[in-house]
């Protein structure tokens, strides 16, 4: 252990001292770093703003559409397409719902029964 004590004793005297220009070198590195950091933050902030603005615009647009546009359309696409071309009597072919028979038709159907 004497060897170690001697070694530690010697180590105490082994010290490097900073030279007089050391503070200036550190300050130069500090100044070098500063604009890079600012530049990075500026870039991040600059790129965030337009993205945020676009996102907000889209959100408001969706809210507007939801408020003003009707939730269910009054007529479906197929109905609105055929309305002008298909006569009322043939509608049941496309919609599946048979129209109520007119009074004359009912009379004709009932007549033979009464005659019998």
């Amino acid at each position: 252990m004497n060897l170690l004590n001697e070694f530690f004793q010697k180590e105490r005297s082994r010290v490097f001292e900073p030279d007089p220009h050391f503070p200036q070198r550190v300050m130069a590195r500090l100044k070098e770093q500063a604009p890079v950091e600012n530049g990075l933050w500026e870039t991040i902030l600059g790129s965030t703003r337009p993205v945020l603005a676009l996102a907000l615009t889209l959100v408001f647009a969706l809210i507007g559409i939801h408020l003003w546009a009707p939730v269910q359309p009054a007529r479906g696409m197929i109905e609105s397409y055929f309305t002008s071309e298909v006569p009322a009597d043939e509608t049941f072919l496309y919609t599946g719902s048979e129209p109520a028979p007119s009074h004359d038709v009912l009379e004709q159907l009932m007549a033979p029964e009464s005659d019998q």
């Binding site: 252990m1 060897l3 170690l4 001697e6 070694f7 530690f8 010697k10 180590e11 105490r12 082994r14 010290v15 490097f16 001292e17 900073p18 050391f22 503070p23 200036q24 070198r25 550190v26 300050m27 590195r29 500090l30 100044k31 770093q33």
Partner: protein, 179 residues
């Protein structure tokens, strides 16, 4: 250590004159601490610069009533620890995957052979054990100061000091036996 606490407040506000004054005042302390672990002036200078860059990056965290030299010593010792770990990893990688013929260990030209052995034995210690041992034996710090600097409990520091001494004695004993 006496110093103007106003310097820290001004440095926190970005005053470059105050920052330079802080570097001027505390660089000897930082150099002394780093010199305990690195033997080349260039390494010490590089690491000291890194320490001050870290210090000014986190200067906002320092309260004016805080023990600034203690905080600075903690940053410096942690920087040494990180660097020693990196160096150790590089050394292990070189020994494992490097060329088969390994060069002889470095012996300082003015260093007696026995002291060279002690130095090599100390350098072979894990930084976890080496750092507290050097702070105790060379820097003459108390266990309490070491614990505060390394952010450990006093018991933990005592355990590490015990293990470091044991390992060092074993390494030096092996060297003597080989001789």
């Amino acid at each position: 250590m006496n110093f103007d606490r106003e310097l820290i407040v001004r440095a926190q506000a970005g005053d470059s004159v105050a920052q330079e004054n802080l570097i001027r005042q505390f660089s000897p302390l930082v150099f002394r601490l780093i010199s305990r672990y690195f033997r080349h002036r260039e390494d010490v200078e590089d690491l000291a610069q890194e320490v001050f860059l870290k210090v000014f990056a986190r200067i906002d965290q320092v309260r004016p009533d805080e023990n600034f030299p203690g905080w600075l010593a903690r940053v410096a010792v942690n920087a040494c620890y990180d660097e020693l770990r990196k160096t150790r990893r590089r050394k292990v990688a070189f020994e494992t995957y490097g060329p088969s013929k390994v060069s002889e260990p470095v012996v300082m030209p003015t260093e007696p052979e026995e002291l060279g052995k002690a130095r090599r034995a100390l350098e072979s210690l894990d930084p976890k054990l080496r750092i507290p041992l050097v702070l105790k034996e060379v820097e003459d710090m108390s266990v309490e100061e070491i614990a505060r600097t390394l952010g450990l409990t006093q018991t933990n520091v005592k355990v590490r000091l015990f293990r470091a001494r044991k390992k060092l004695a074993a390494t030096l004993g092996d060297l003597k036996k080989r001789k």
